[in-house]
Amino acid sequence: MTAKMVVEGVTKRFGDVSALGPCSVQVQPNEFLCVIGPSGCGKTTLLRILAGLVPPDEGRVWVDGEQVRGPRPEVAMVFQHFGLLPWKTVWDNVAYGLRLQGRPKAEIQERVPKFIELMGLRGFEHKYPYQLSGGMQQRVGIARALAVDPEVLLMDEPFGALDAQTREFMQEELLRVWRTQRKTVVFVTHSIDEAILLGDRIVVLSSRPGRVREVLSVDIPRPRSGDRVRGLPRFHELRHRLWELLRAEAEVVR
């Protein structure tokens, strides 16, 4: 099976600080890949390079065998800060990507309600982002990304700004949605539990400059739910393993 996305020897420096890499990862088609690492290890930088938002200093990124040189319509992103346009309603925010891609009006009229429905936003179509809670705002962010029918979904700590309860609820929602929208997902997080619950594999990055420290397979069968997964012995083994890896990395920094 050929990889959906290939990252090869990517590095990034900011001034004198080496932020990332060299870092090499392969993302398989329809895989849910979580990226975890100590804070400041360049997780977000890696994701922005995958999105084509910043060029790597060295190395290359391919999507479907094509080199990434800038943002691509088949790659969509979900942001930690939600990134909704405050002057657009929920409906218009969800339609944002479709309109930018110049999709026909009929298609937009058909797809937007579909994803509003899917993300549980019915009845909020005409609200503005500031009228919604954080969890609801991120539902809009996810609906907007899914609406363009991307092949790859990049998620940058999408639930990092939410409170603990909302966060768990949103994880369940994402699992539910992913069952119907089987995208290739790269999901950056700093939560060990979140990575195990969601991921097929977990890439553990080292402390700065972030390199791939280890790749763990999460052999917990799907469909998963938070309650059930957290009760499994395998969950605790993985959790323990990730803890050790991350603690070792955190100590390097100190």
């Binding site: 999105a51 319509p73 969509a76 992103m77 990134g83 346009l85 002057w87 990507g97 930018l100």
Partner: protein, 268 residues
């Protein structure tokens, strides 16, 4: 002042909830006017006046059509100058924010002209443009254009970088980014600039009417001051006050309607 002072004060007030802030304001105005009326009648001086005399003078000036005639002349000057300032200030502010080269080229001129008291330019405007409407409109324009230009520039520059990245991630073209992100985000700044411009424009209008050919509400003021008709003299002043309060209030309401999210952010 009303906005700045009212917000924090309201939280400490609940010890005496008998009168709403609005009621206190109305009462304050009523007491002030009442005191003025009483003092004015008591004094009985020909060059002092009081509210009821001003009201009578206003009715007379409206009945003869004099007030409307001069108000119209003033409004033409104000609206032409303001319109030109909006038409020039917004595109120029956008352009200066968009192209750094243009910013560096124009900045010395804009800073210098903005810092110059505009009144000092009146003689030169009269020499170049004459005494008529042209010179007046030019003066109002100079009073109005800078707040609009500078606010537009600030609005464009203060766009959320993260939203620009969102636009880029969704493959937005530059034109689409201006349409969807930059201009909507700058709009409340632009409206605030226009609100400031209206206040300055009224000053420019009256100053122009005093110092070029004397017309409009400025003419009424000068004429009735020279003839000691203080009751009539106050009529155009009250009208100017009403215009200032009304127009800026209108713009404030417009800002709230167009950018409700701004006020939510401020209240948090």
């Amino acid at each position: 002042m009303r906005v700045a002072a009212a917000a924090p004060a309201q939280r400490r007030v609940p010890t005496r909830p008998r009168m709403t802030p609005a009621a206190i304001r109305w009462l304050s105005v009523a007491v002030g006017l009442g005191a003025w009326e009483a003092y004015g009648r008591l004094l009985g001086s020909p060059i002092f006046t009081y509210p009821s005399a001003i009201a009578r003078a206003a009715v007379a000036l409206v009945q003869t059509g004099e007030l409307q005639f001069y108000l119209q002349a003033s409004l033409v000057v104000l609206s032409l100058g303001l319109l030109l300032a909006v038409a020039a200030g917004i595109p120029l502010g956008v352009a200066v924010a968009r192209w750094p080269l243009l910013e560096h080229v124009t900045d010395p001129y804009i800073s210098a002209l903005y810092a110059t008291p505009t009144v000092a330019l009146i003689p030169i405007l009269v020499l170049w443009l004459g005494f008529q409407t042209q010179a007046k409109v030019a003066l109002v324009f100079l009073f109005c254009v800078f707040p609009i230009l500078i606010n537009t520039y600030q609005g464009v520059r203060s766009v959320d970088r993260r939203l620009l990245e969102v636009a880029r991630a969704f493959c937005s073209t530059e034109w689409a980014t201006w349409r969807d992100v930059i201009l909507p985000s700058a709009l409340p700044f632009i409206l605030a600039g226009i609100r400031l411009a209206i206040g300055r424009g009224l000053v420019g209008m009256v100053v122009a009417e005093f110092y070029t050919s004397i017309t409009g509400l400025g003419y009424m003021i000068v004429q009735y001051a020279n003839t000691f008709r203080t009751d009539r003299l106050f009529v155009p002043i009250v009208v100017l006050m009403g215009m200032g309060v009304g127009l800026t209030g209108l713009l404030k309401r417009l800002e709230r309607r167009i950018a409700p999210w701004m006020h939510v952010l401020r209240e948090e």
